[in-house]
Amino acid sequence: MIAVLGLVIGVVVGLLVAPDVPDWAQPYLPIAVVAALDAVFGALRAFLDGIFDDKVFVVSFVSNVLIAALIVYLGDQLGVGSQLSTGVVVVLGIRIFTNMAAIRRHIFRA
């Protein structure tokens, strides 16, 4: 319940405050959001598996976001930024799909 509340509050805050994203963070923000989504779905899956641990969740969340941003940063420095960010998005997308499949199996048993 609180989790859903937090989601709603986040959307509202994002809409109301509408902070400016600093220039340096702009290439990494979309990747970070995708990585965070991956972590959230992973947490939901773990929760349904009964192996959810909040510490693990926080650590995996932060590391996911940081690593995604780091990879993009590295790619930018190496001149393959767009390709690397595409790769990161693809990998995270696959992971999200896998997690969703597991969650689906848990809830609908199908």
Partner: protein, 274 residues
């Protein structure tokens, strides 16, 4: 760890359950409940819930911001260098194409406007020519300085040749438009036929007194009528025995018109100069 408590009862029954999805024929009523029950217990407030809430709020906030930024910016801010170069290249090509198009259109505009000028000039010239030719052909009324010659022929002895001589002398003196009795315009094709006691001009009967009105240099015209052996002396002479009166006027209105007839044989030939 407080969130473990609600999980505990479920966990207690759990060990057999994780394998439950694979062997389907196993106890059915219990297995579907498990995940849903966890979901339901998950709605109870706990530390884990709070942490998840905070993280979710963060993610949602950032996601919303990102969506907004993505929608607000024009797509160049996140574009990589090679994309920007491609975009710039495209814009440059577009600019060159549009510039050449502008040059083309300018050129066409110039040619069209000069063509329009030419057409305008040609039309003005043609109109001026129409006016000149209309006076010459007798299809337009005319006005200007000139003379009025009144010939009185009480005995009806004037002939068409007298009148023709009079017209030719006036033409020699530079008459530009001539009418007789205010009804017969004298043009190139005008003919004079004797029809005593009078004269038929272009098939139209004209009687004494004959009033010849001519536009031209009025002094020259009156001299042409008055010179010895000319029109006046002939009319006043013994042969005709009439009277003649020549008046120089500053404005002679010539209103009689000659109805042009369609040429039956003559057709305009293409001019070689144009």
């Amino acid at each position: 760890m407080s969130d473990d408590k609600p999980e505990k009862p479920a966990d207690a029954v759990e060990p057999p359950q994780p394998e439950a999805p694979t062997p389907m024929p196993k106890p059915k009523p219990k297995t579907p409940n498990l995940a849903l029950r966890r979901l339901r217990t998950g709605f109870k407030p706990s530390r884990g819930q709070a942490i998840v809430a905070v993280v979710l709020a963060l993610v949602a906030c950032v996601a919303v911001v990102q969506v907004r930024v993505n929608r607000a910016d024009d797509g160049y801010q996140n574009a990589r260098r090679e994309d920007l170069i491609a975009i710039l290249d495209g814009l440059g090509q577009n600019t060159r194409r549009l510039e050449s198009e502008i040059a083309d259109l300018e050129e066409r505009k110039n040619s069209l406007s000069s063509g329009a000028d030419k057409a305008q000039t040609a039309r003005e010239q043609a109109e001026a020519q129409v006016r000149t030719l209309g006076i010459l052909a007798g299809t337009l009324p005319a006005t200007g300085p000139g003379v009025r010659i009144t010939l009185n022929d009480p005995q009806g002895k004037m002939t068409s040749s007298n009148l023709l001589d009079a017209i030719e002398e006036l033409r020699d003196a530079g008459a530009e438009a001539i009418q007789i009795n205010g009804s017969a315009r004298v043009v190139a094709s005008t003919d004079f036929v004797d029809d005593p006691p009078g004269i038929r001009i272009d098939g139209q009967k004209v009687n004494s007194p004959y009033v010849i009105e001519a536009i031209g240099e009025s002094h020259n015209l009156s001299e042409a009528a008055n010179f010895p052996g000319g029109l006046v002396s002939e009319v006043t002479g013994p042969q005709v025995g009439g009277t003649a009166e020549v008046t120089e006027l500053t404005t002679v209105p010539i209103t009689a018109l000659h109805a042009p007839e369609e040429h039956r044989y003559a057709r305009p030939a293409p001019s070689p100069t144009k």
